[in-house]
């Protein structure tokens, strides 16, 4: 204990020198991992993305390509900008009034930060799951069909019935398909009309995943999807993420490094100050990181 403390103070005692050297070495390394090669095409490519919250420079010139049909984990200490980065991918940061975003994000080669981008279409294609389960105070069925109904893909109700455009059958099909995908169908198929708030935390989170799948997205963004759940529910969510990666491009933010190692194909490490320090195959990151700071973080010496 005391030895570790002594070590830490020794490290922080000569900060100026160390930081410059490590900064230099990281820059050198950055050039190497920037050309991170992966098989298949890039689903999302991010170029020089900067985010400011007022005067706070939250994300500093981040560039990375995210391959399709795989799990990409974003790890790093609290406040390092990984959630900010995630929320840039479906433009959820637009909802923060003080946020200013520079740079480019392309979804299958199409720029999303451009005037005239259809946010409805973008968010239909890039779904999102939040840290704490947030189902609407509606029935399980209504939670899932909420998105498609608001987009006009499913018509229901008196007017639809009068006009002969009632999609109740399609809705039932959609509910069953997405709940199956989210591994929740077995548990709730006999109570689809019950209020979703009556489900357990883990079930609620899987319902949120099913809800995100209902708009038929290509990309699924997950912001620490298991951090509010118990170990058993977490294991279920992790299995689910691996299954989903066969069909969807999944980007997961997590605090839990074991989780990142278990489920992801490639890992990006953000460190304090909103920098992307290293991005590579998960195995490489965890076994043989190039940057000293990443190794320190992963082995628990820092952060």
């Amino acid at each position: 204990m005391s030895e570790a403390q002594v070590d830490q103070t020794a490290e922080t005692e000569a900060p100026g020198e160390r930081v410059t050297t490590s900064g230099e070495s990281d820059e050198r390394i950055e050039d190497e991992w920037r050309d991170y090669e992966f098989a298949g095409r890039a689903k999302l490519s991010v170029e020089d993305l900067d985010v400011y919250y007022g005067d706070d420079h939250a994300l500093k010139s981040v560039s990375m390509d995210i391959p399709s049909e795989s799990v990409t984990a974003l790890i790093g200490p609290s406040g390092c900008g990984k959630s900010t980065f995630l929320r840039c991918l479906n433009r959820m940061n637009d909802r923060v009034k003080t946020a200013r975003i520079d740079g480019s994000v392309e979804l299958e080669g199409e720029e999303i930060y451009r005037d005239g981008t259809n946010l409805v279409e973008l968010r239909k294609r890039v779904g999102m799951v939040f840290q704490s389960p947030n189902p609407f105070p509606k029935s399980i069925r209504d939670n899932i069909s909420y998105g498609p109904r608001k987009h006009g893909d499913i018509n229901k109700g008196l007017l639809a019935r009068l006009l002969g455009r009632d999609d109740t059958a399609e809705e039932a099909e959609l509910v069953e398909r997405t709940l199956e995908q989210a591994a929740l169908w077995e548990e709730v198929n006999d109570r689809l009309d019950d209020n979703a708030l009556g489900l357990s935390g883990g079930q609620q989170q899987r319902l949120c995943i099913a809800r995100a799948l209902a708009t038929d997205p290509d990309v699924l963004l997950m912001d620490e999807p298991a951090s509010a759940l118990d170990p058993i529910a977490t294991a279920k969510i992790e299995d689910l993420i691996e299954e989903l990666a066969e069909e969807y491009t999944v980007v997961v933010v997590t605090h839990n490094m074991q989780q990142a190692a278990r489920i992801s194909d490639q890992t990006a490490v953000f460190l304090t100050g909103g920098e992307l320090v290293e991005y590579d195959d998960t195995d490489t990151i965890f076994e043989n990181p190039e940057s000293q700071r990443v190794e320190d973080y992963i082995t628990g010496k820092f952060g």
Partner: protein
């Protein structure tokens, strides 16, 4: 008498001391109830039980309570019973006892030594300080029982020995009123029994932290009981006075009901006070139907007018407007509007709306004015309710690509519905009984001989505004308006009721209408809550 307990934590058997404390509580609560009964003159003060008048019995009760308190206190001080007293009874107990003793000292000085200011003030001061000290200095079990018991014993003794009785009257020089003993005794006993309840509850739970908590709960419980009694008394009073008027001529099978489709007439409940018009030549039992319908139309119109506007403004203020100077000004203005006197709204209606809309008193101006009054409350409560909707819902909806307006319509407003309805319920309760603005903009003849036929008066015209409604533009009567007219009028036009009787009947119907509206509101709030939450 040694009290052997199983453990320090457990005590299942009730001890003699606890029984004594229970006795004190029972006696003082009974005295409390009987005193109120005397104050409301349900109980005659000359009633005698076992040869003693009620007033004397109350005095005896106070003395008995005082004896019980001293017994429990002393028993605890001599360690005969297990208690957990604090070292002192505390500051607040000292203040209360000191105040009581100083009042006692002042009265004693004026009675025995004359009314010299210096004299009674100094005596009161000395008594107060001594009283405080007797309560603060000894350990809590003595300090919170014995000084209180002394006060109770002196007051109770004076009453029990007949020094203060029904015939005696208190005529202090500084007060122009004379307080007869028949009122003074119950008032003294009410306060005395509250004191005894406080001290007795302390003793019952062994003093200390537990005892103080129990004493606080006992006092709060007594006060809550008193509050509910006042409410019950109010409703009971109106029912007792109005029921006979309301049931005049009512029979279970005297009426006739013609079923609409099959055209068969069956015996039906007859309730002339509710179903008859008030004026007219051939009405034997004048009823309140026109006024009831008028009140319902007023409330309906005001709600229709105020709810969409209020909820819409709340949505704008919370979801769209930038939080800043503008929203602050609107907030202050709304709160001010809610506390504006209703007669001011009425005057505004009279000066601004009446000449522009109907040229005279009319239902629609009444609806608008009451709607203006309802608007701020609906706005305030729905704004609070919308702010309380978690941001997670909005995030989740936005992440699904749903637009802001759709989110507001299908997630935010439904989630805020119970809160909004609470506001509407409160507001409707206020406007349904509103009289002042109606006097200015709404009221017609106080005893109308026909009900306003609003639904049947809609007519199409070839010129703007294309739809007209004669009934909405005509004055009518409403229950509170009719009540006011009846009470202030000289003589009721029919012989069957006096003004007062008809007024009580109207008041009872008004009460029932308001309770009915409440029931509708509470029911719909429950419905929305069920829908929103897992219940």
């Amino acid at each position: 008498m040694s009290n052997v307990r199983d453990t320090a934590l457990h005590s299942d058997e009730s001890t003699t001391s606890e029984l004594a404390a229970d006795g004190v509580l029972t006696v003082s609560f009974t005295a409390f109830l009987v005193s109120w009964a005397l104050l409301f003159q349900w109980l005659d003060e000359t009633t005698t039980v076992a040869g003693l008048t009620v007033l004397r019995l109350l005095g005896v009760a106070l003395v008995v309570a005082a004896g019980g308190l001293v017994a429990t206190g002393v028993a605890s001080r001599l360690d005969v019973v297990d208690t957990t007293p604090s070292p002192t009874a505390g500051f607040s107990a000292g203040v209360v006892v000191g105040l009581l003793w100083s009042i006692f000292g002042a009265l004693l000085a004026t009675a025995l030594l004359g009314a010299g200011t210096v004299l009674w003030v100094s005596t009161a001061l000395v008594f107060g300080v001594v009283g405080s000290l007797t309560s603060v200095l000894p350990r809590e079990d003595i300090g919170s029982t014995v000084p209180v018991s002394l006060v109770l014993a002196v007051v109770g003794g004076a009453i029990a020995l007949g020094r203060i009785d029904g015939g005696w009257s208190w005529d202090p020089a500084w007060l122009s009123a004379v307080v007869p003993g028949s009122e003074l005794v119950p008032i003294l006993v009410v306060f005395g029994s509250l004191l005894a309840v406080w001290s007795g509850a302390k003793a019952r739970h062994g003093f200390g932290a537990q005892g103080r908590e129990a004493a606080a709960f006992a006092l709060i419980g007594t006060v809550v009981f008193g509050m509910l009694s006042v409410l019950a008394l109010l409703i009971g009073f109106i029912v007792v006075n109005g029921l006979e008027t309301m049931l005049t001529g009512a029979t279970l099978s005297g009426g006739r009901l013609t079923l609409p489709v099959i055209d068969v007439t069956i015996p039906w409940v007859s309730f002339p006070f509710l179903t008859n018009v008030t004026g007219g030549l051939y009405v034997d039992v004048p009823g309140v139907l026109p006024a009831t319908i008028g009140t319902l139309w007023l409330v309906f119109g005001a709600v229709i007018f105020a709810v969409p506007l209020g909820v819409g403004a709340a949505v704008f203020l919370t979801e769209y407007a930038e939080r800043g100077r503008f929203t602050q000004v609107v907030e202050v203005a709304t709160n001010g509007l809610w506390s504006t006197p209703s007669i001011v709204f009425g005057l505004f209606g009279l000066a601004f709306l009446v000449p522009r809309i109907s040229g005279g008193n009319s239902i629609i101006v009444g609806q608008l004015v009451l709607g203006f009054m309802l608007l701020p409350l609906v706005l305030i409560t729905s704004r609070e309710a919308i702010l309380a909707v978690p941001d997670e819902y909005r995030d989740a909806s936005a992440a699904l690509g749903v637009t802001k307006w759709q989110t507001i319509r299908s997630v935010v407003v439904p989630a805020a519905m119970p809160g909004t309805i609470t506001g509407v319920i409160l507001g409707v309760g206020r406007i349904a009984g509103e009289t002042a603005p109606l006097l200015l903009v709404f009221g017609g003849p106080p005893y109308p001989s026909q009900t306003p036929d609003v639904l049947g008066s809609f007519a199409l015209t070839a010129t703007p505004p294309f739809v007209t409604n004669e009934a909405l533009l005509a004055p009518a009567s409403a229950l509170p308006y009719q009540l006011y007219s009846t009470i202030t009028a000289g003589v009721f036009p029919k012989d069957i009721f006096t003004n007062q009787e008809f007024g009580w009947g109207t008041a009872l119907v008004l009460l029932l209408v308001v309770i009915g509206l409440y029931a509708i509101g509470v029911g719909s709030r429950l419905y929305f809550r069920r829908k929103l939450h897992h219940e």
